[in-house]
Symmetry: C2
Subunit: 338 residues, 2 copies
């Protein structure tokens, strides 16, 4: 094997190609600035199902169908699926993939799942274990609120640092051969915990993980921020984004105007009253598989560093007084294969 | 790449070696028939911690320490960790790996996690992405009962089909080079749901997945049960094991006396009053990383087919009337590299 391999980072010797990608979102997301980049939107929070959890599985099914259709593929063409979500025991993914017959690896990376699944799907294809792999994730505002905070009917007040879980699902299908977007490699995050205990300030809790992974990426691969047209974290929101921006500048890796965050891109934070921005596995998934990949196809972005960030807390760990561990995986996507 | 690749199965062209393995269990497990095969046992359900969830993380830390020590390695020698558990948001794994600095992929495969993590760790090493990868998982009786069923203090009655979640953690460290046990390949399961809705009968819910994966394994790789010295599922318990045994015989793949189940191996089901047997991610993990790998080192087993089975339900999905999807991943372990 001739993959380039460092402590946390690797580059694919034969980069997998993005054969297809798709995303599906809910009502609030369809009222935001990225409306032109979604494959499907629904004005019904339940997506025709009877519960929010089932709606989340339905969204995954819809996004997979859309991605297959765009590439003229069917389920049997997929050799491996890598999927996970925020729900307890990842039922969003298990129930969405239950009737597909696709060999499945379940993941849990909280909101870093899109990046995690892309790296693993890429490894499965580039390593010769799978002909075609699926990377998929989702989140739903209502199922997340109920599980992590309060039932919606309770009408809880949201502090200014809180983020709004995106209702959406995104997926990418990776394969061999030629195409418009390649997964060139990435940096696998380790778990970073700076002791933040406020479960309503995920951006601050995850920012140290993003900084750690970005620095490892640049150092290990001998790269600079300017090597990328866009560097996008997802989803730190306004507060976490500011921390990353300032710390990276302080450490002589100025990200400048090429840096943005999926949590800020998905919503008009002021007009849509989402406080610090969007969050949830679906947030970075739909921004990547909708907006960013479309810009890459139009060659408005040639090299993208996509950094999925996740907060690995649970309501139980928070209630037991634990702080919030964060993780960030970085994926280098490029329009060039070499 | 020259991996042999079928629809669900693959064989490694350069099989990764098991450099080290270890397991840690609680009191009840230490009173069972496999007492001689555990690296560490604790008579304290809390493992010195203040909550059962923290005890679960502690078990993972202890098993990782034991595995590192046996191979004279330290944390920095591990390039990637693949870990997951049953707790909501997989906090057992996230908190155990938080201070290690090891690049981490979080998994969710319910009780199939040991097999899932072995396959992915194997792919990461054999694909040239990692020098040395960790596969690890755990479960804890008390944290599982509270999360899936009732708080222990409630004293709920257990039906005869129920299984007893093992308090234990197991891990294996895979690397390149030579050794006593190799991961030769495996079969990735797809999600199978036969409509069983009894959350107290996991064995019956998971058995169809085990049958599906075993049949795919034999068919795709042109193998027969007799090619293995031992075929072990984990953990179907007595009821699921009987279903698998009978259906495989009916389908002309007689497993005969080479077949056993981790849920039956770990406990003396009658004397220890565990009804249908053991369960939980930790069950198959400690049986594999303790008992089975030791037998392989003594060459009492040369070819082992280890089939991790998982029930992908959550209390929410059960309360919403959903049936229980199952999954099974098979891993071929051998004392021979070729």
């Amino acid at each position: 094997m001739s993959q380039i391999q460092k402590r946390q980072s690797f580059l694919f010797s034969s980069p997998p190609v993005v054969e297809s990608h798709a995303c599906v979102v809910g009502k609030k997301e369809s009222e935001g600035p990225l409306i032109d980049y979604f494959d499907e939107t629904s004005q019904d929070t339940y997506f025709g199902e009877t519960t929010w959890e089932k709606a989340e599985s339905k969204m995954q099914q819809l996004t997979l169908q859309a991605a297959l259709k765009k590439a003229n593929l069917n389920k049997k063409d997929i050799s491996m699926a890598f999927s996970g979500d925020l729900l307890n025991q990842c039922i969003g993914s298990s129930f969405s993939l239950r009737d597909t017959g696709i060999p499945t690896f379940g993941l849990y990376g909280a909101c870093s799942t899109m990046a995690e699944s892309l790296l693993l799907a890429g490894m499965s294809v580039a390593g010769g274990f799978s002909r075609r792999s699926l990377a998929m994730t989702s989140s739903h505002f209502a199922s997340s609120e109920r599980q992590y905070r309060f039932p919606l009917g309770y009408g809880g007040q949201r502090p200014p640092t809180s983020q709004w879980t995106v209702t959406g699902a995104g997926c990418a299908i990776l394969g061999c051969g030629e195409g418009e977007i390649y997964v060139r490699g990435g940096t696998v995050g380790h778990i970073v915990d700076f002791g933040i205990k406020d479960a309503n300030n995920m951006g601050a809790a995850m920012a140290p993980a993003a900084i750690s992974t970005l620095q490892a990426h640049f150092k290990e691969l001998g790269k600079r921020p300017a090597d990328y047209d866009r560097i996008v974290t997802g989803d730190l929101g306004r507060i976490g984004r500011k921390i990353v921006y300032e710390q990276m500048e302080h450490d002589s890796y100025p990200l400048e105007c090429r840096y943005s965050d999926c949590g800020e891109l998905i919503f008009d934070c002021v007009r849509q009253d989402v406080h610090a921005g969007g969050s949830g596995c679906g947030c970075s998934a739909v921004v990547l598989c909708g907006y960013l990949m479309q810009l890459m196809k139009e060659q408005k972005i040639n090299d993208l560093l996509f950094c999925g960030t996740g907060a690995l807390l649970s309501p139980v760990s928070t209630n037991q007084g634990e702080s919030v561990p964060g993780i960030c995986h970085a994926v280098w996507l490029s329009t060039k294969k070499e």
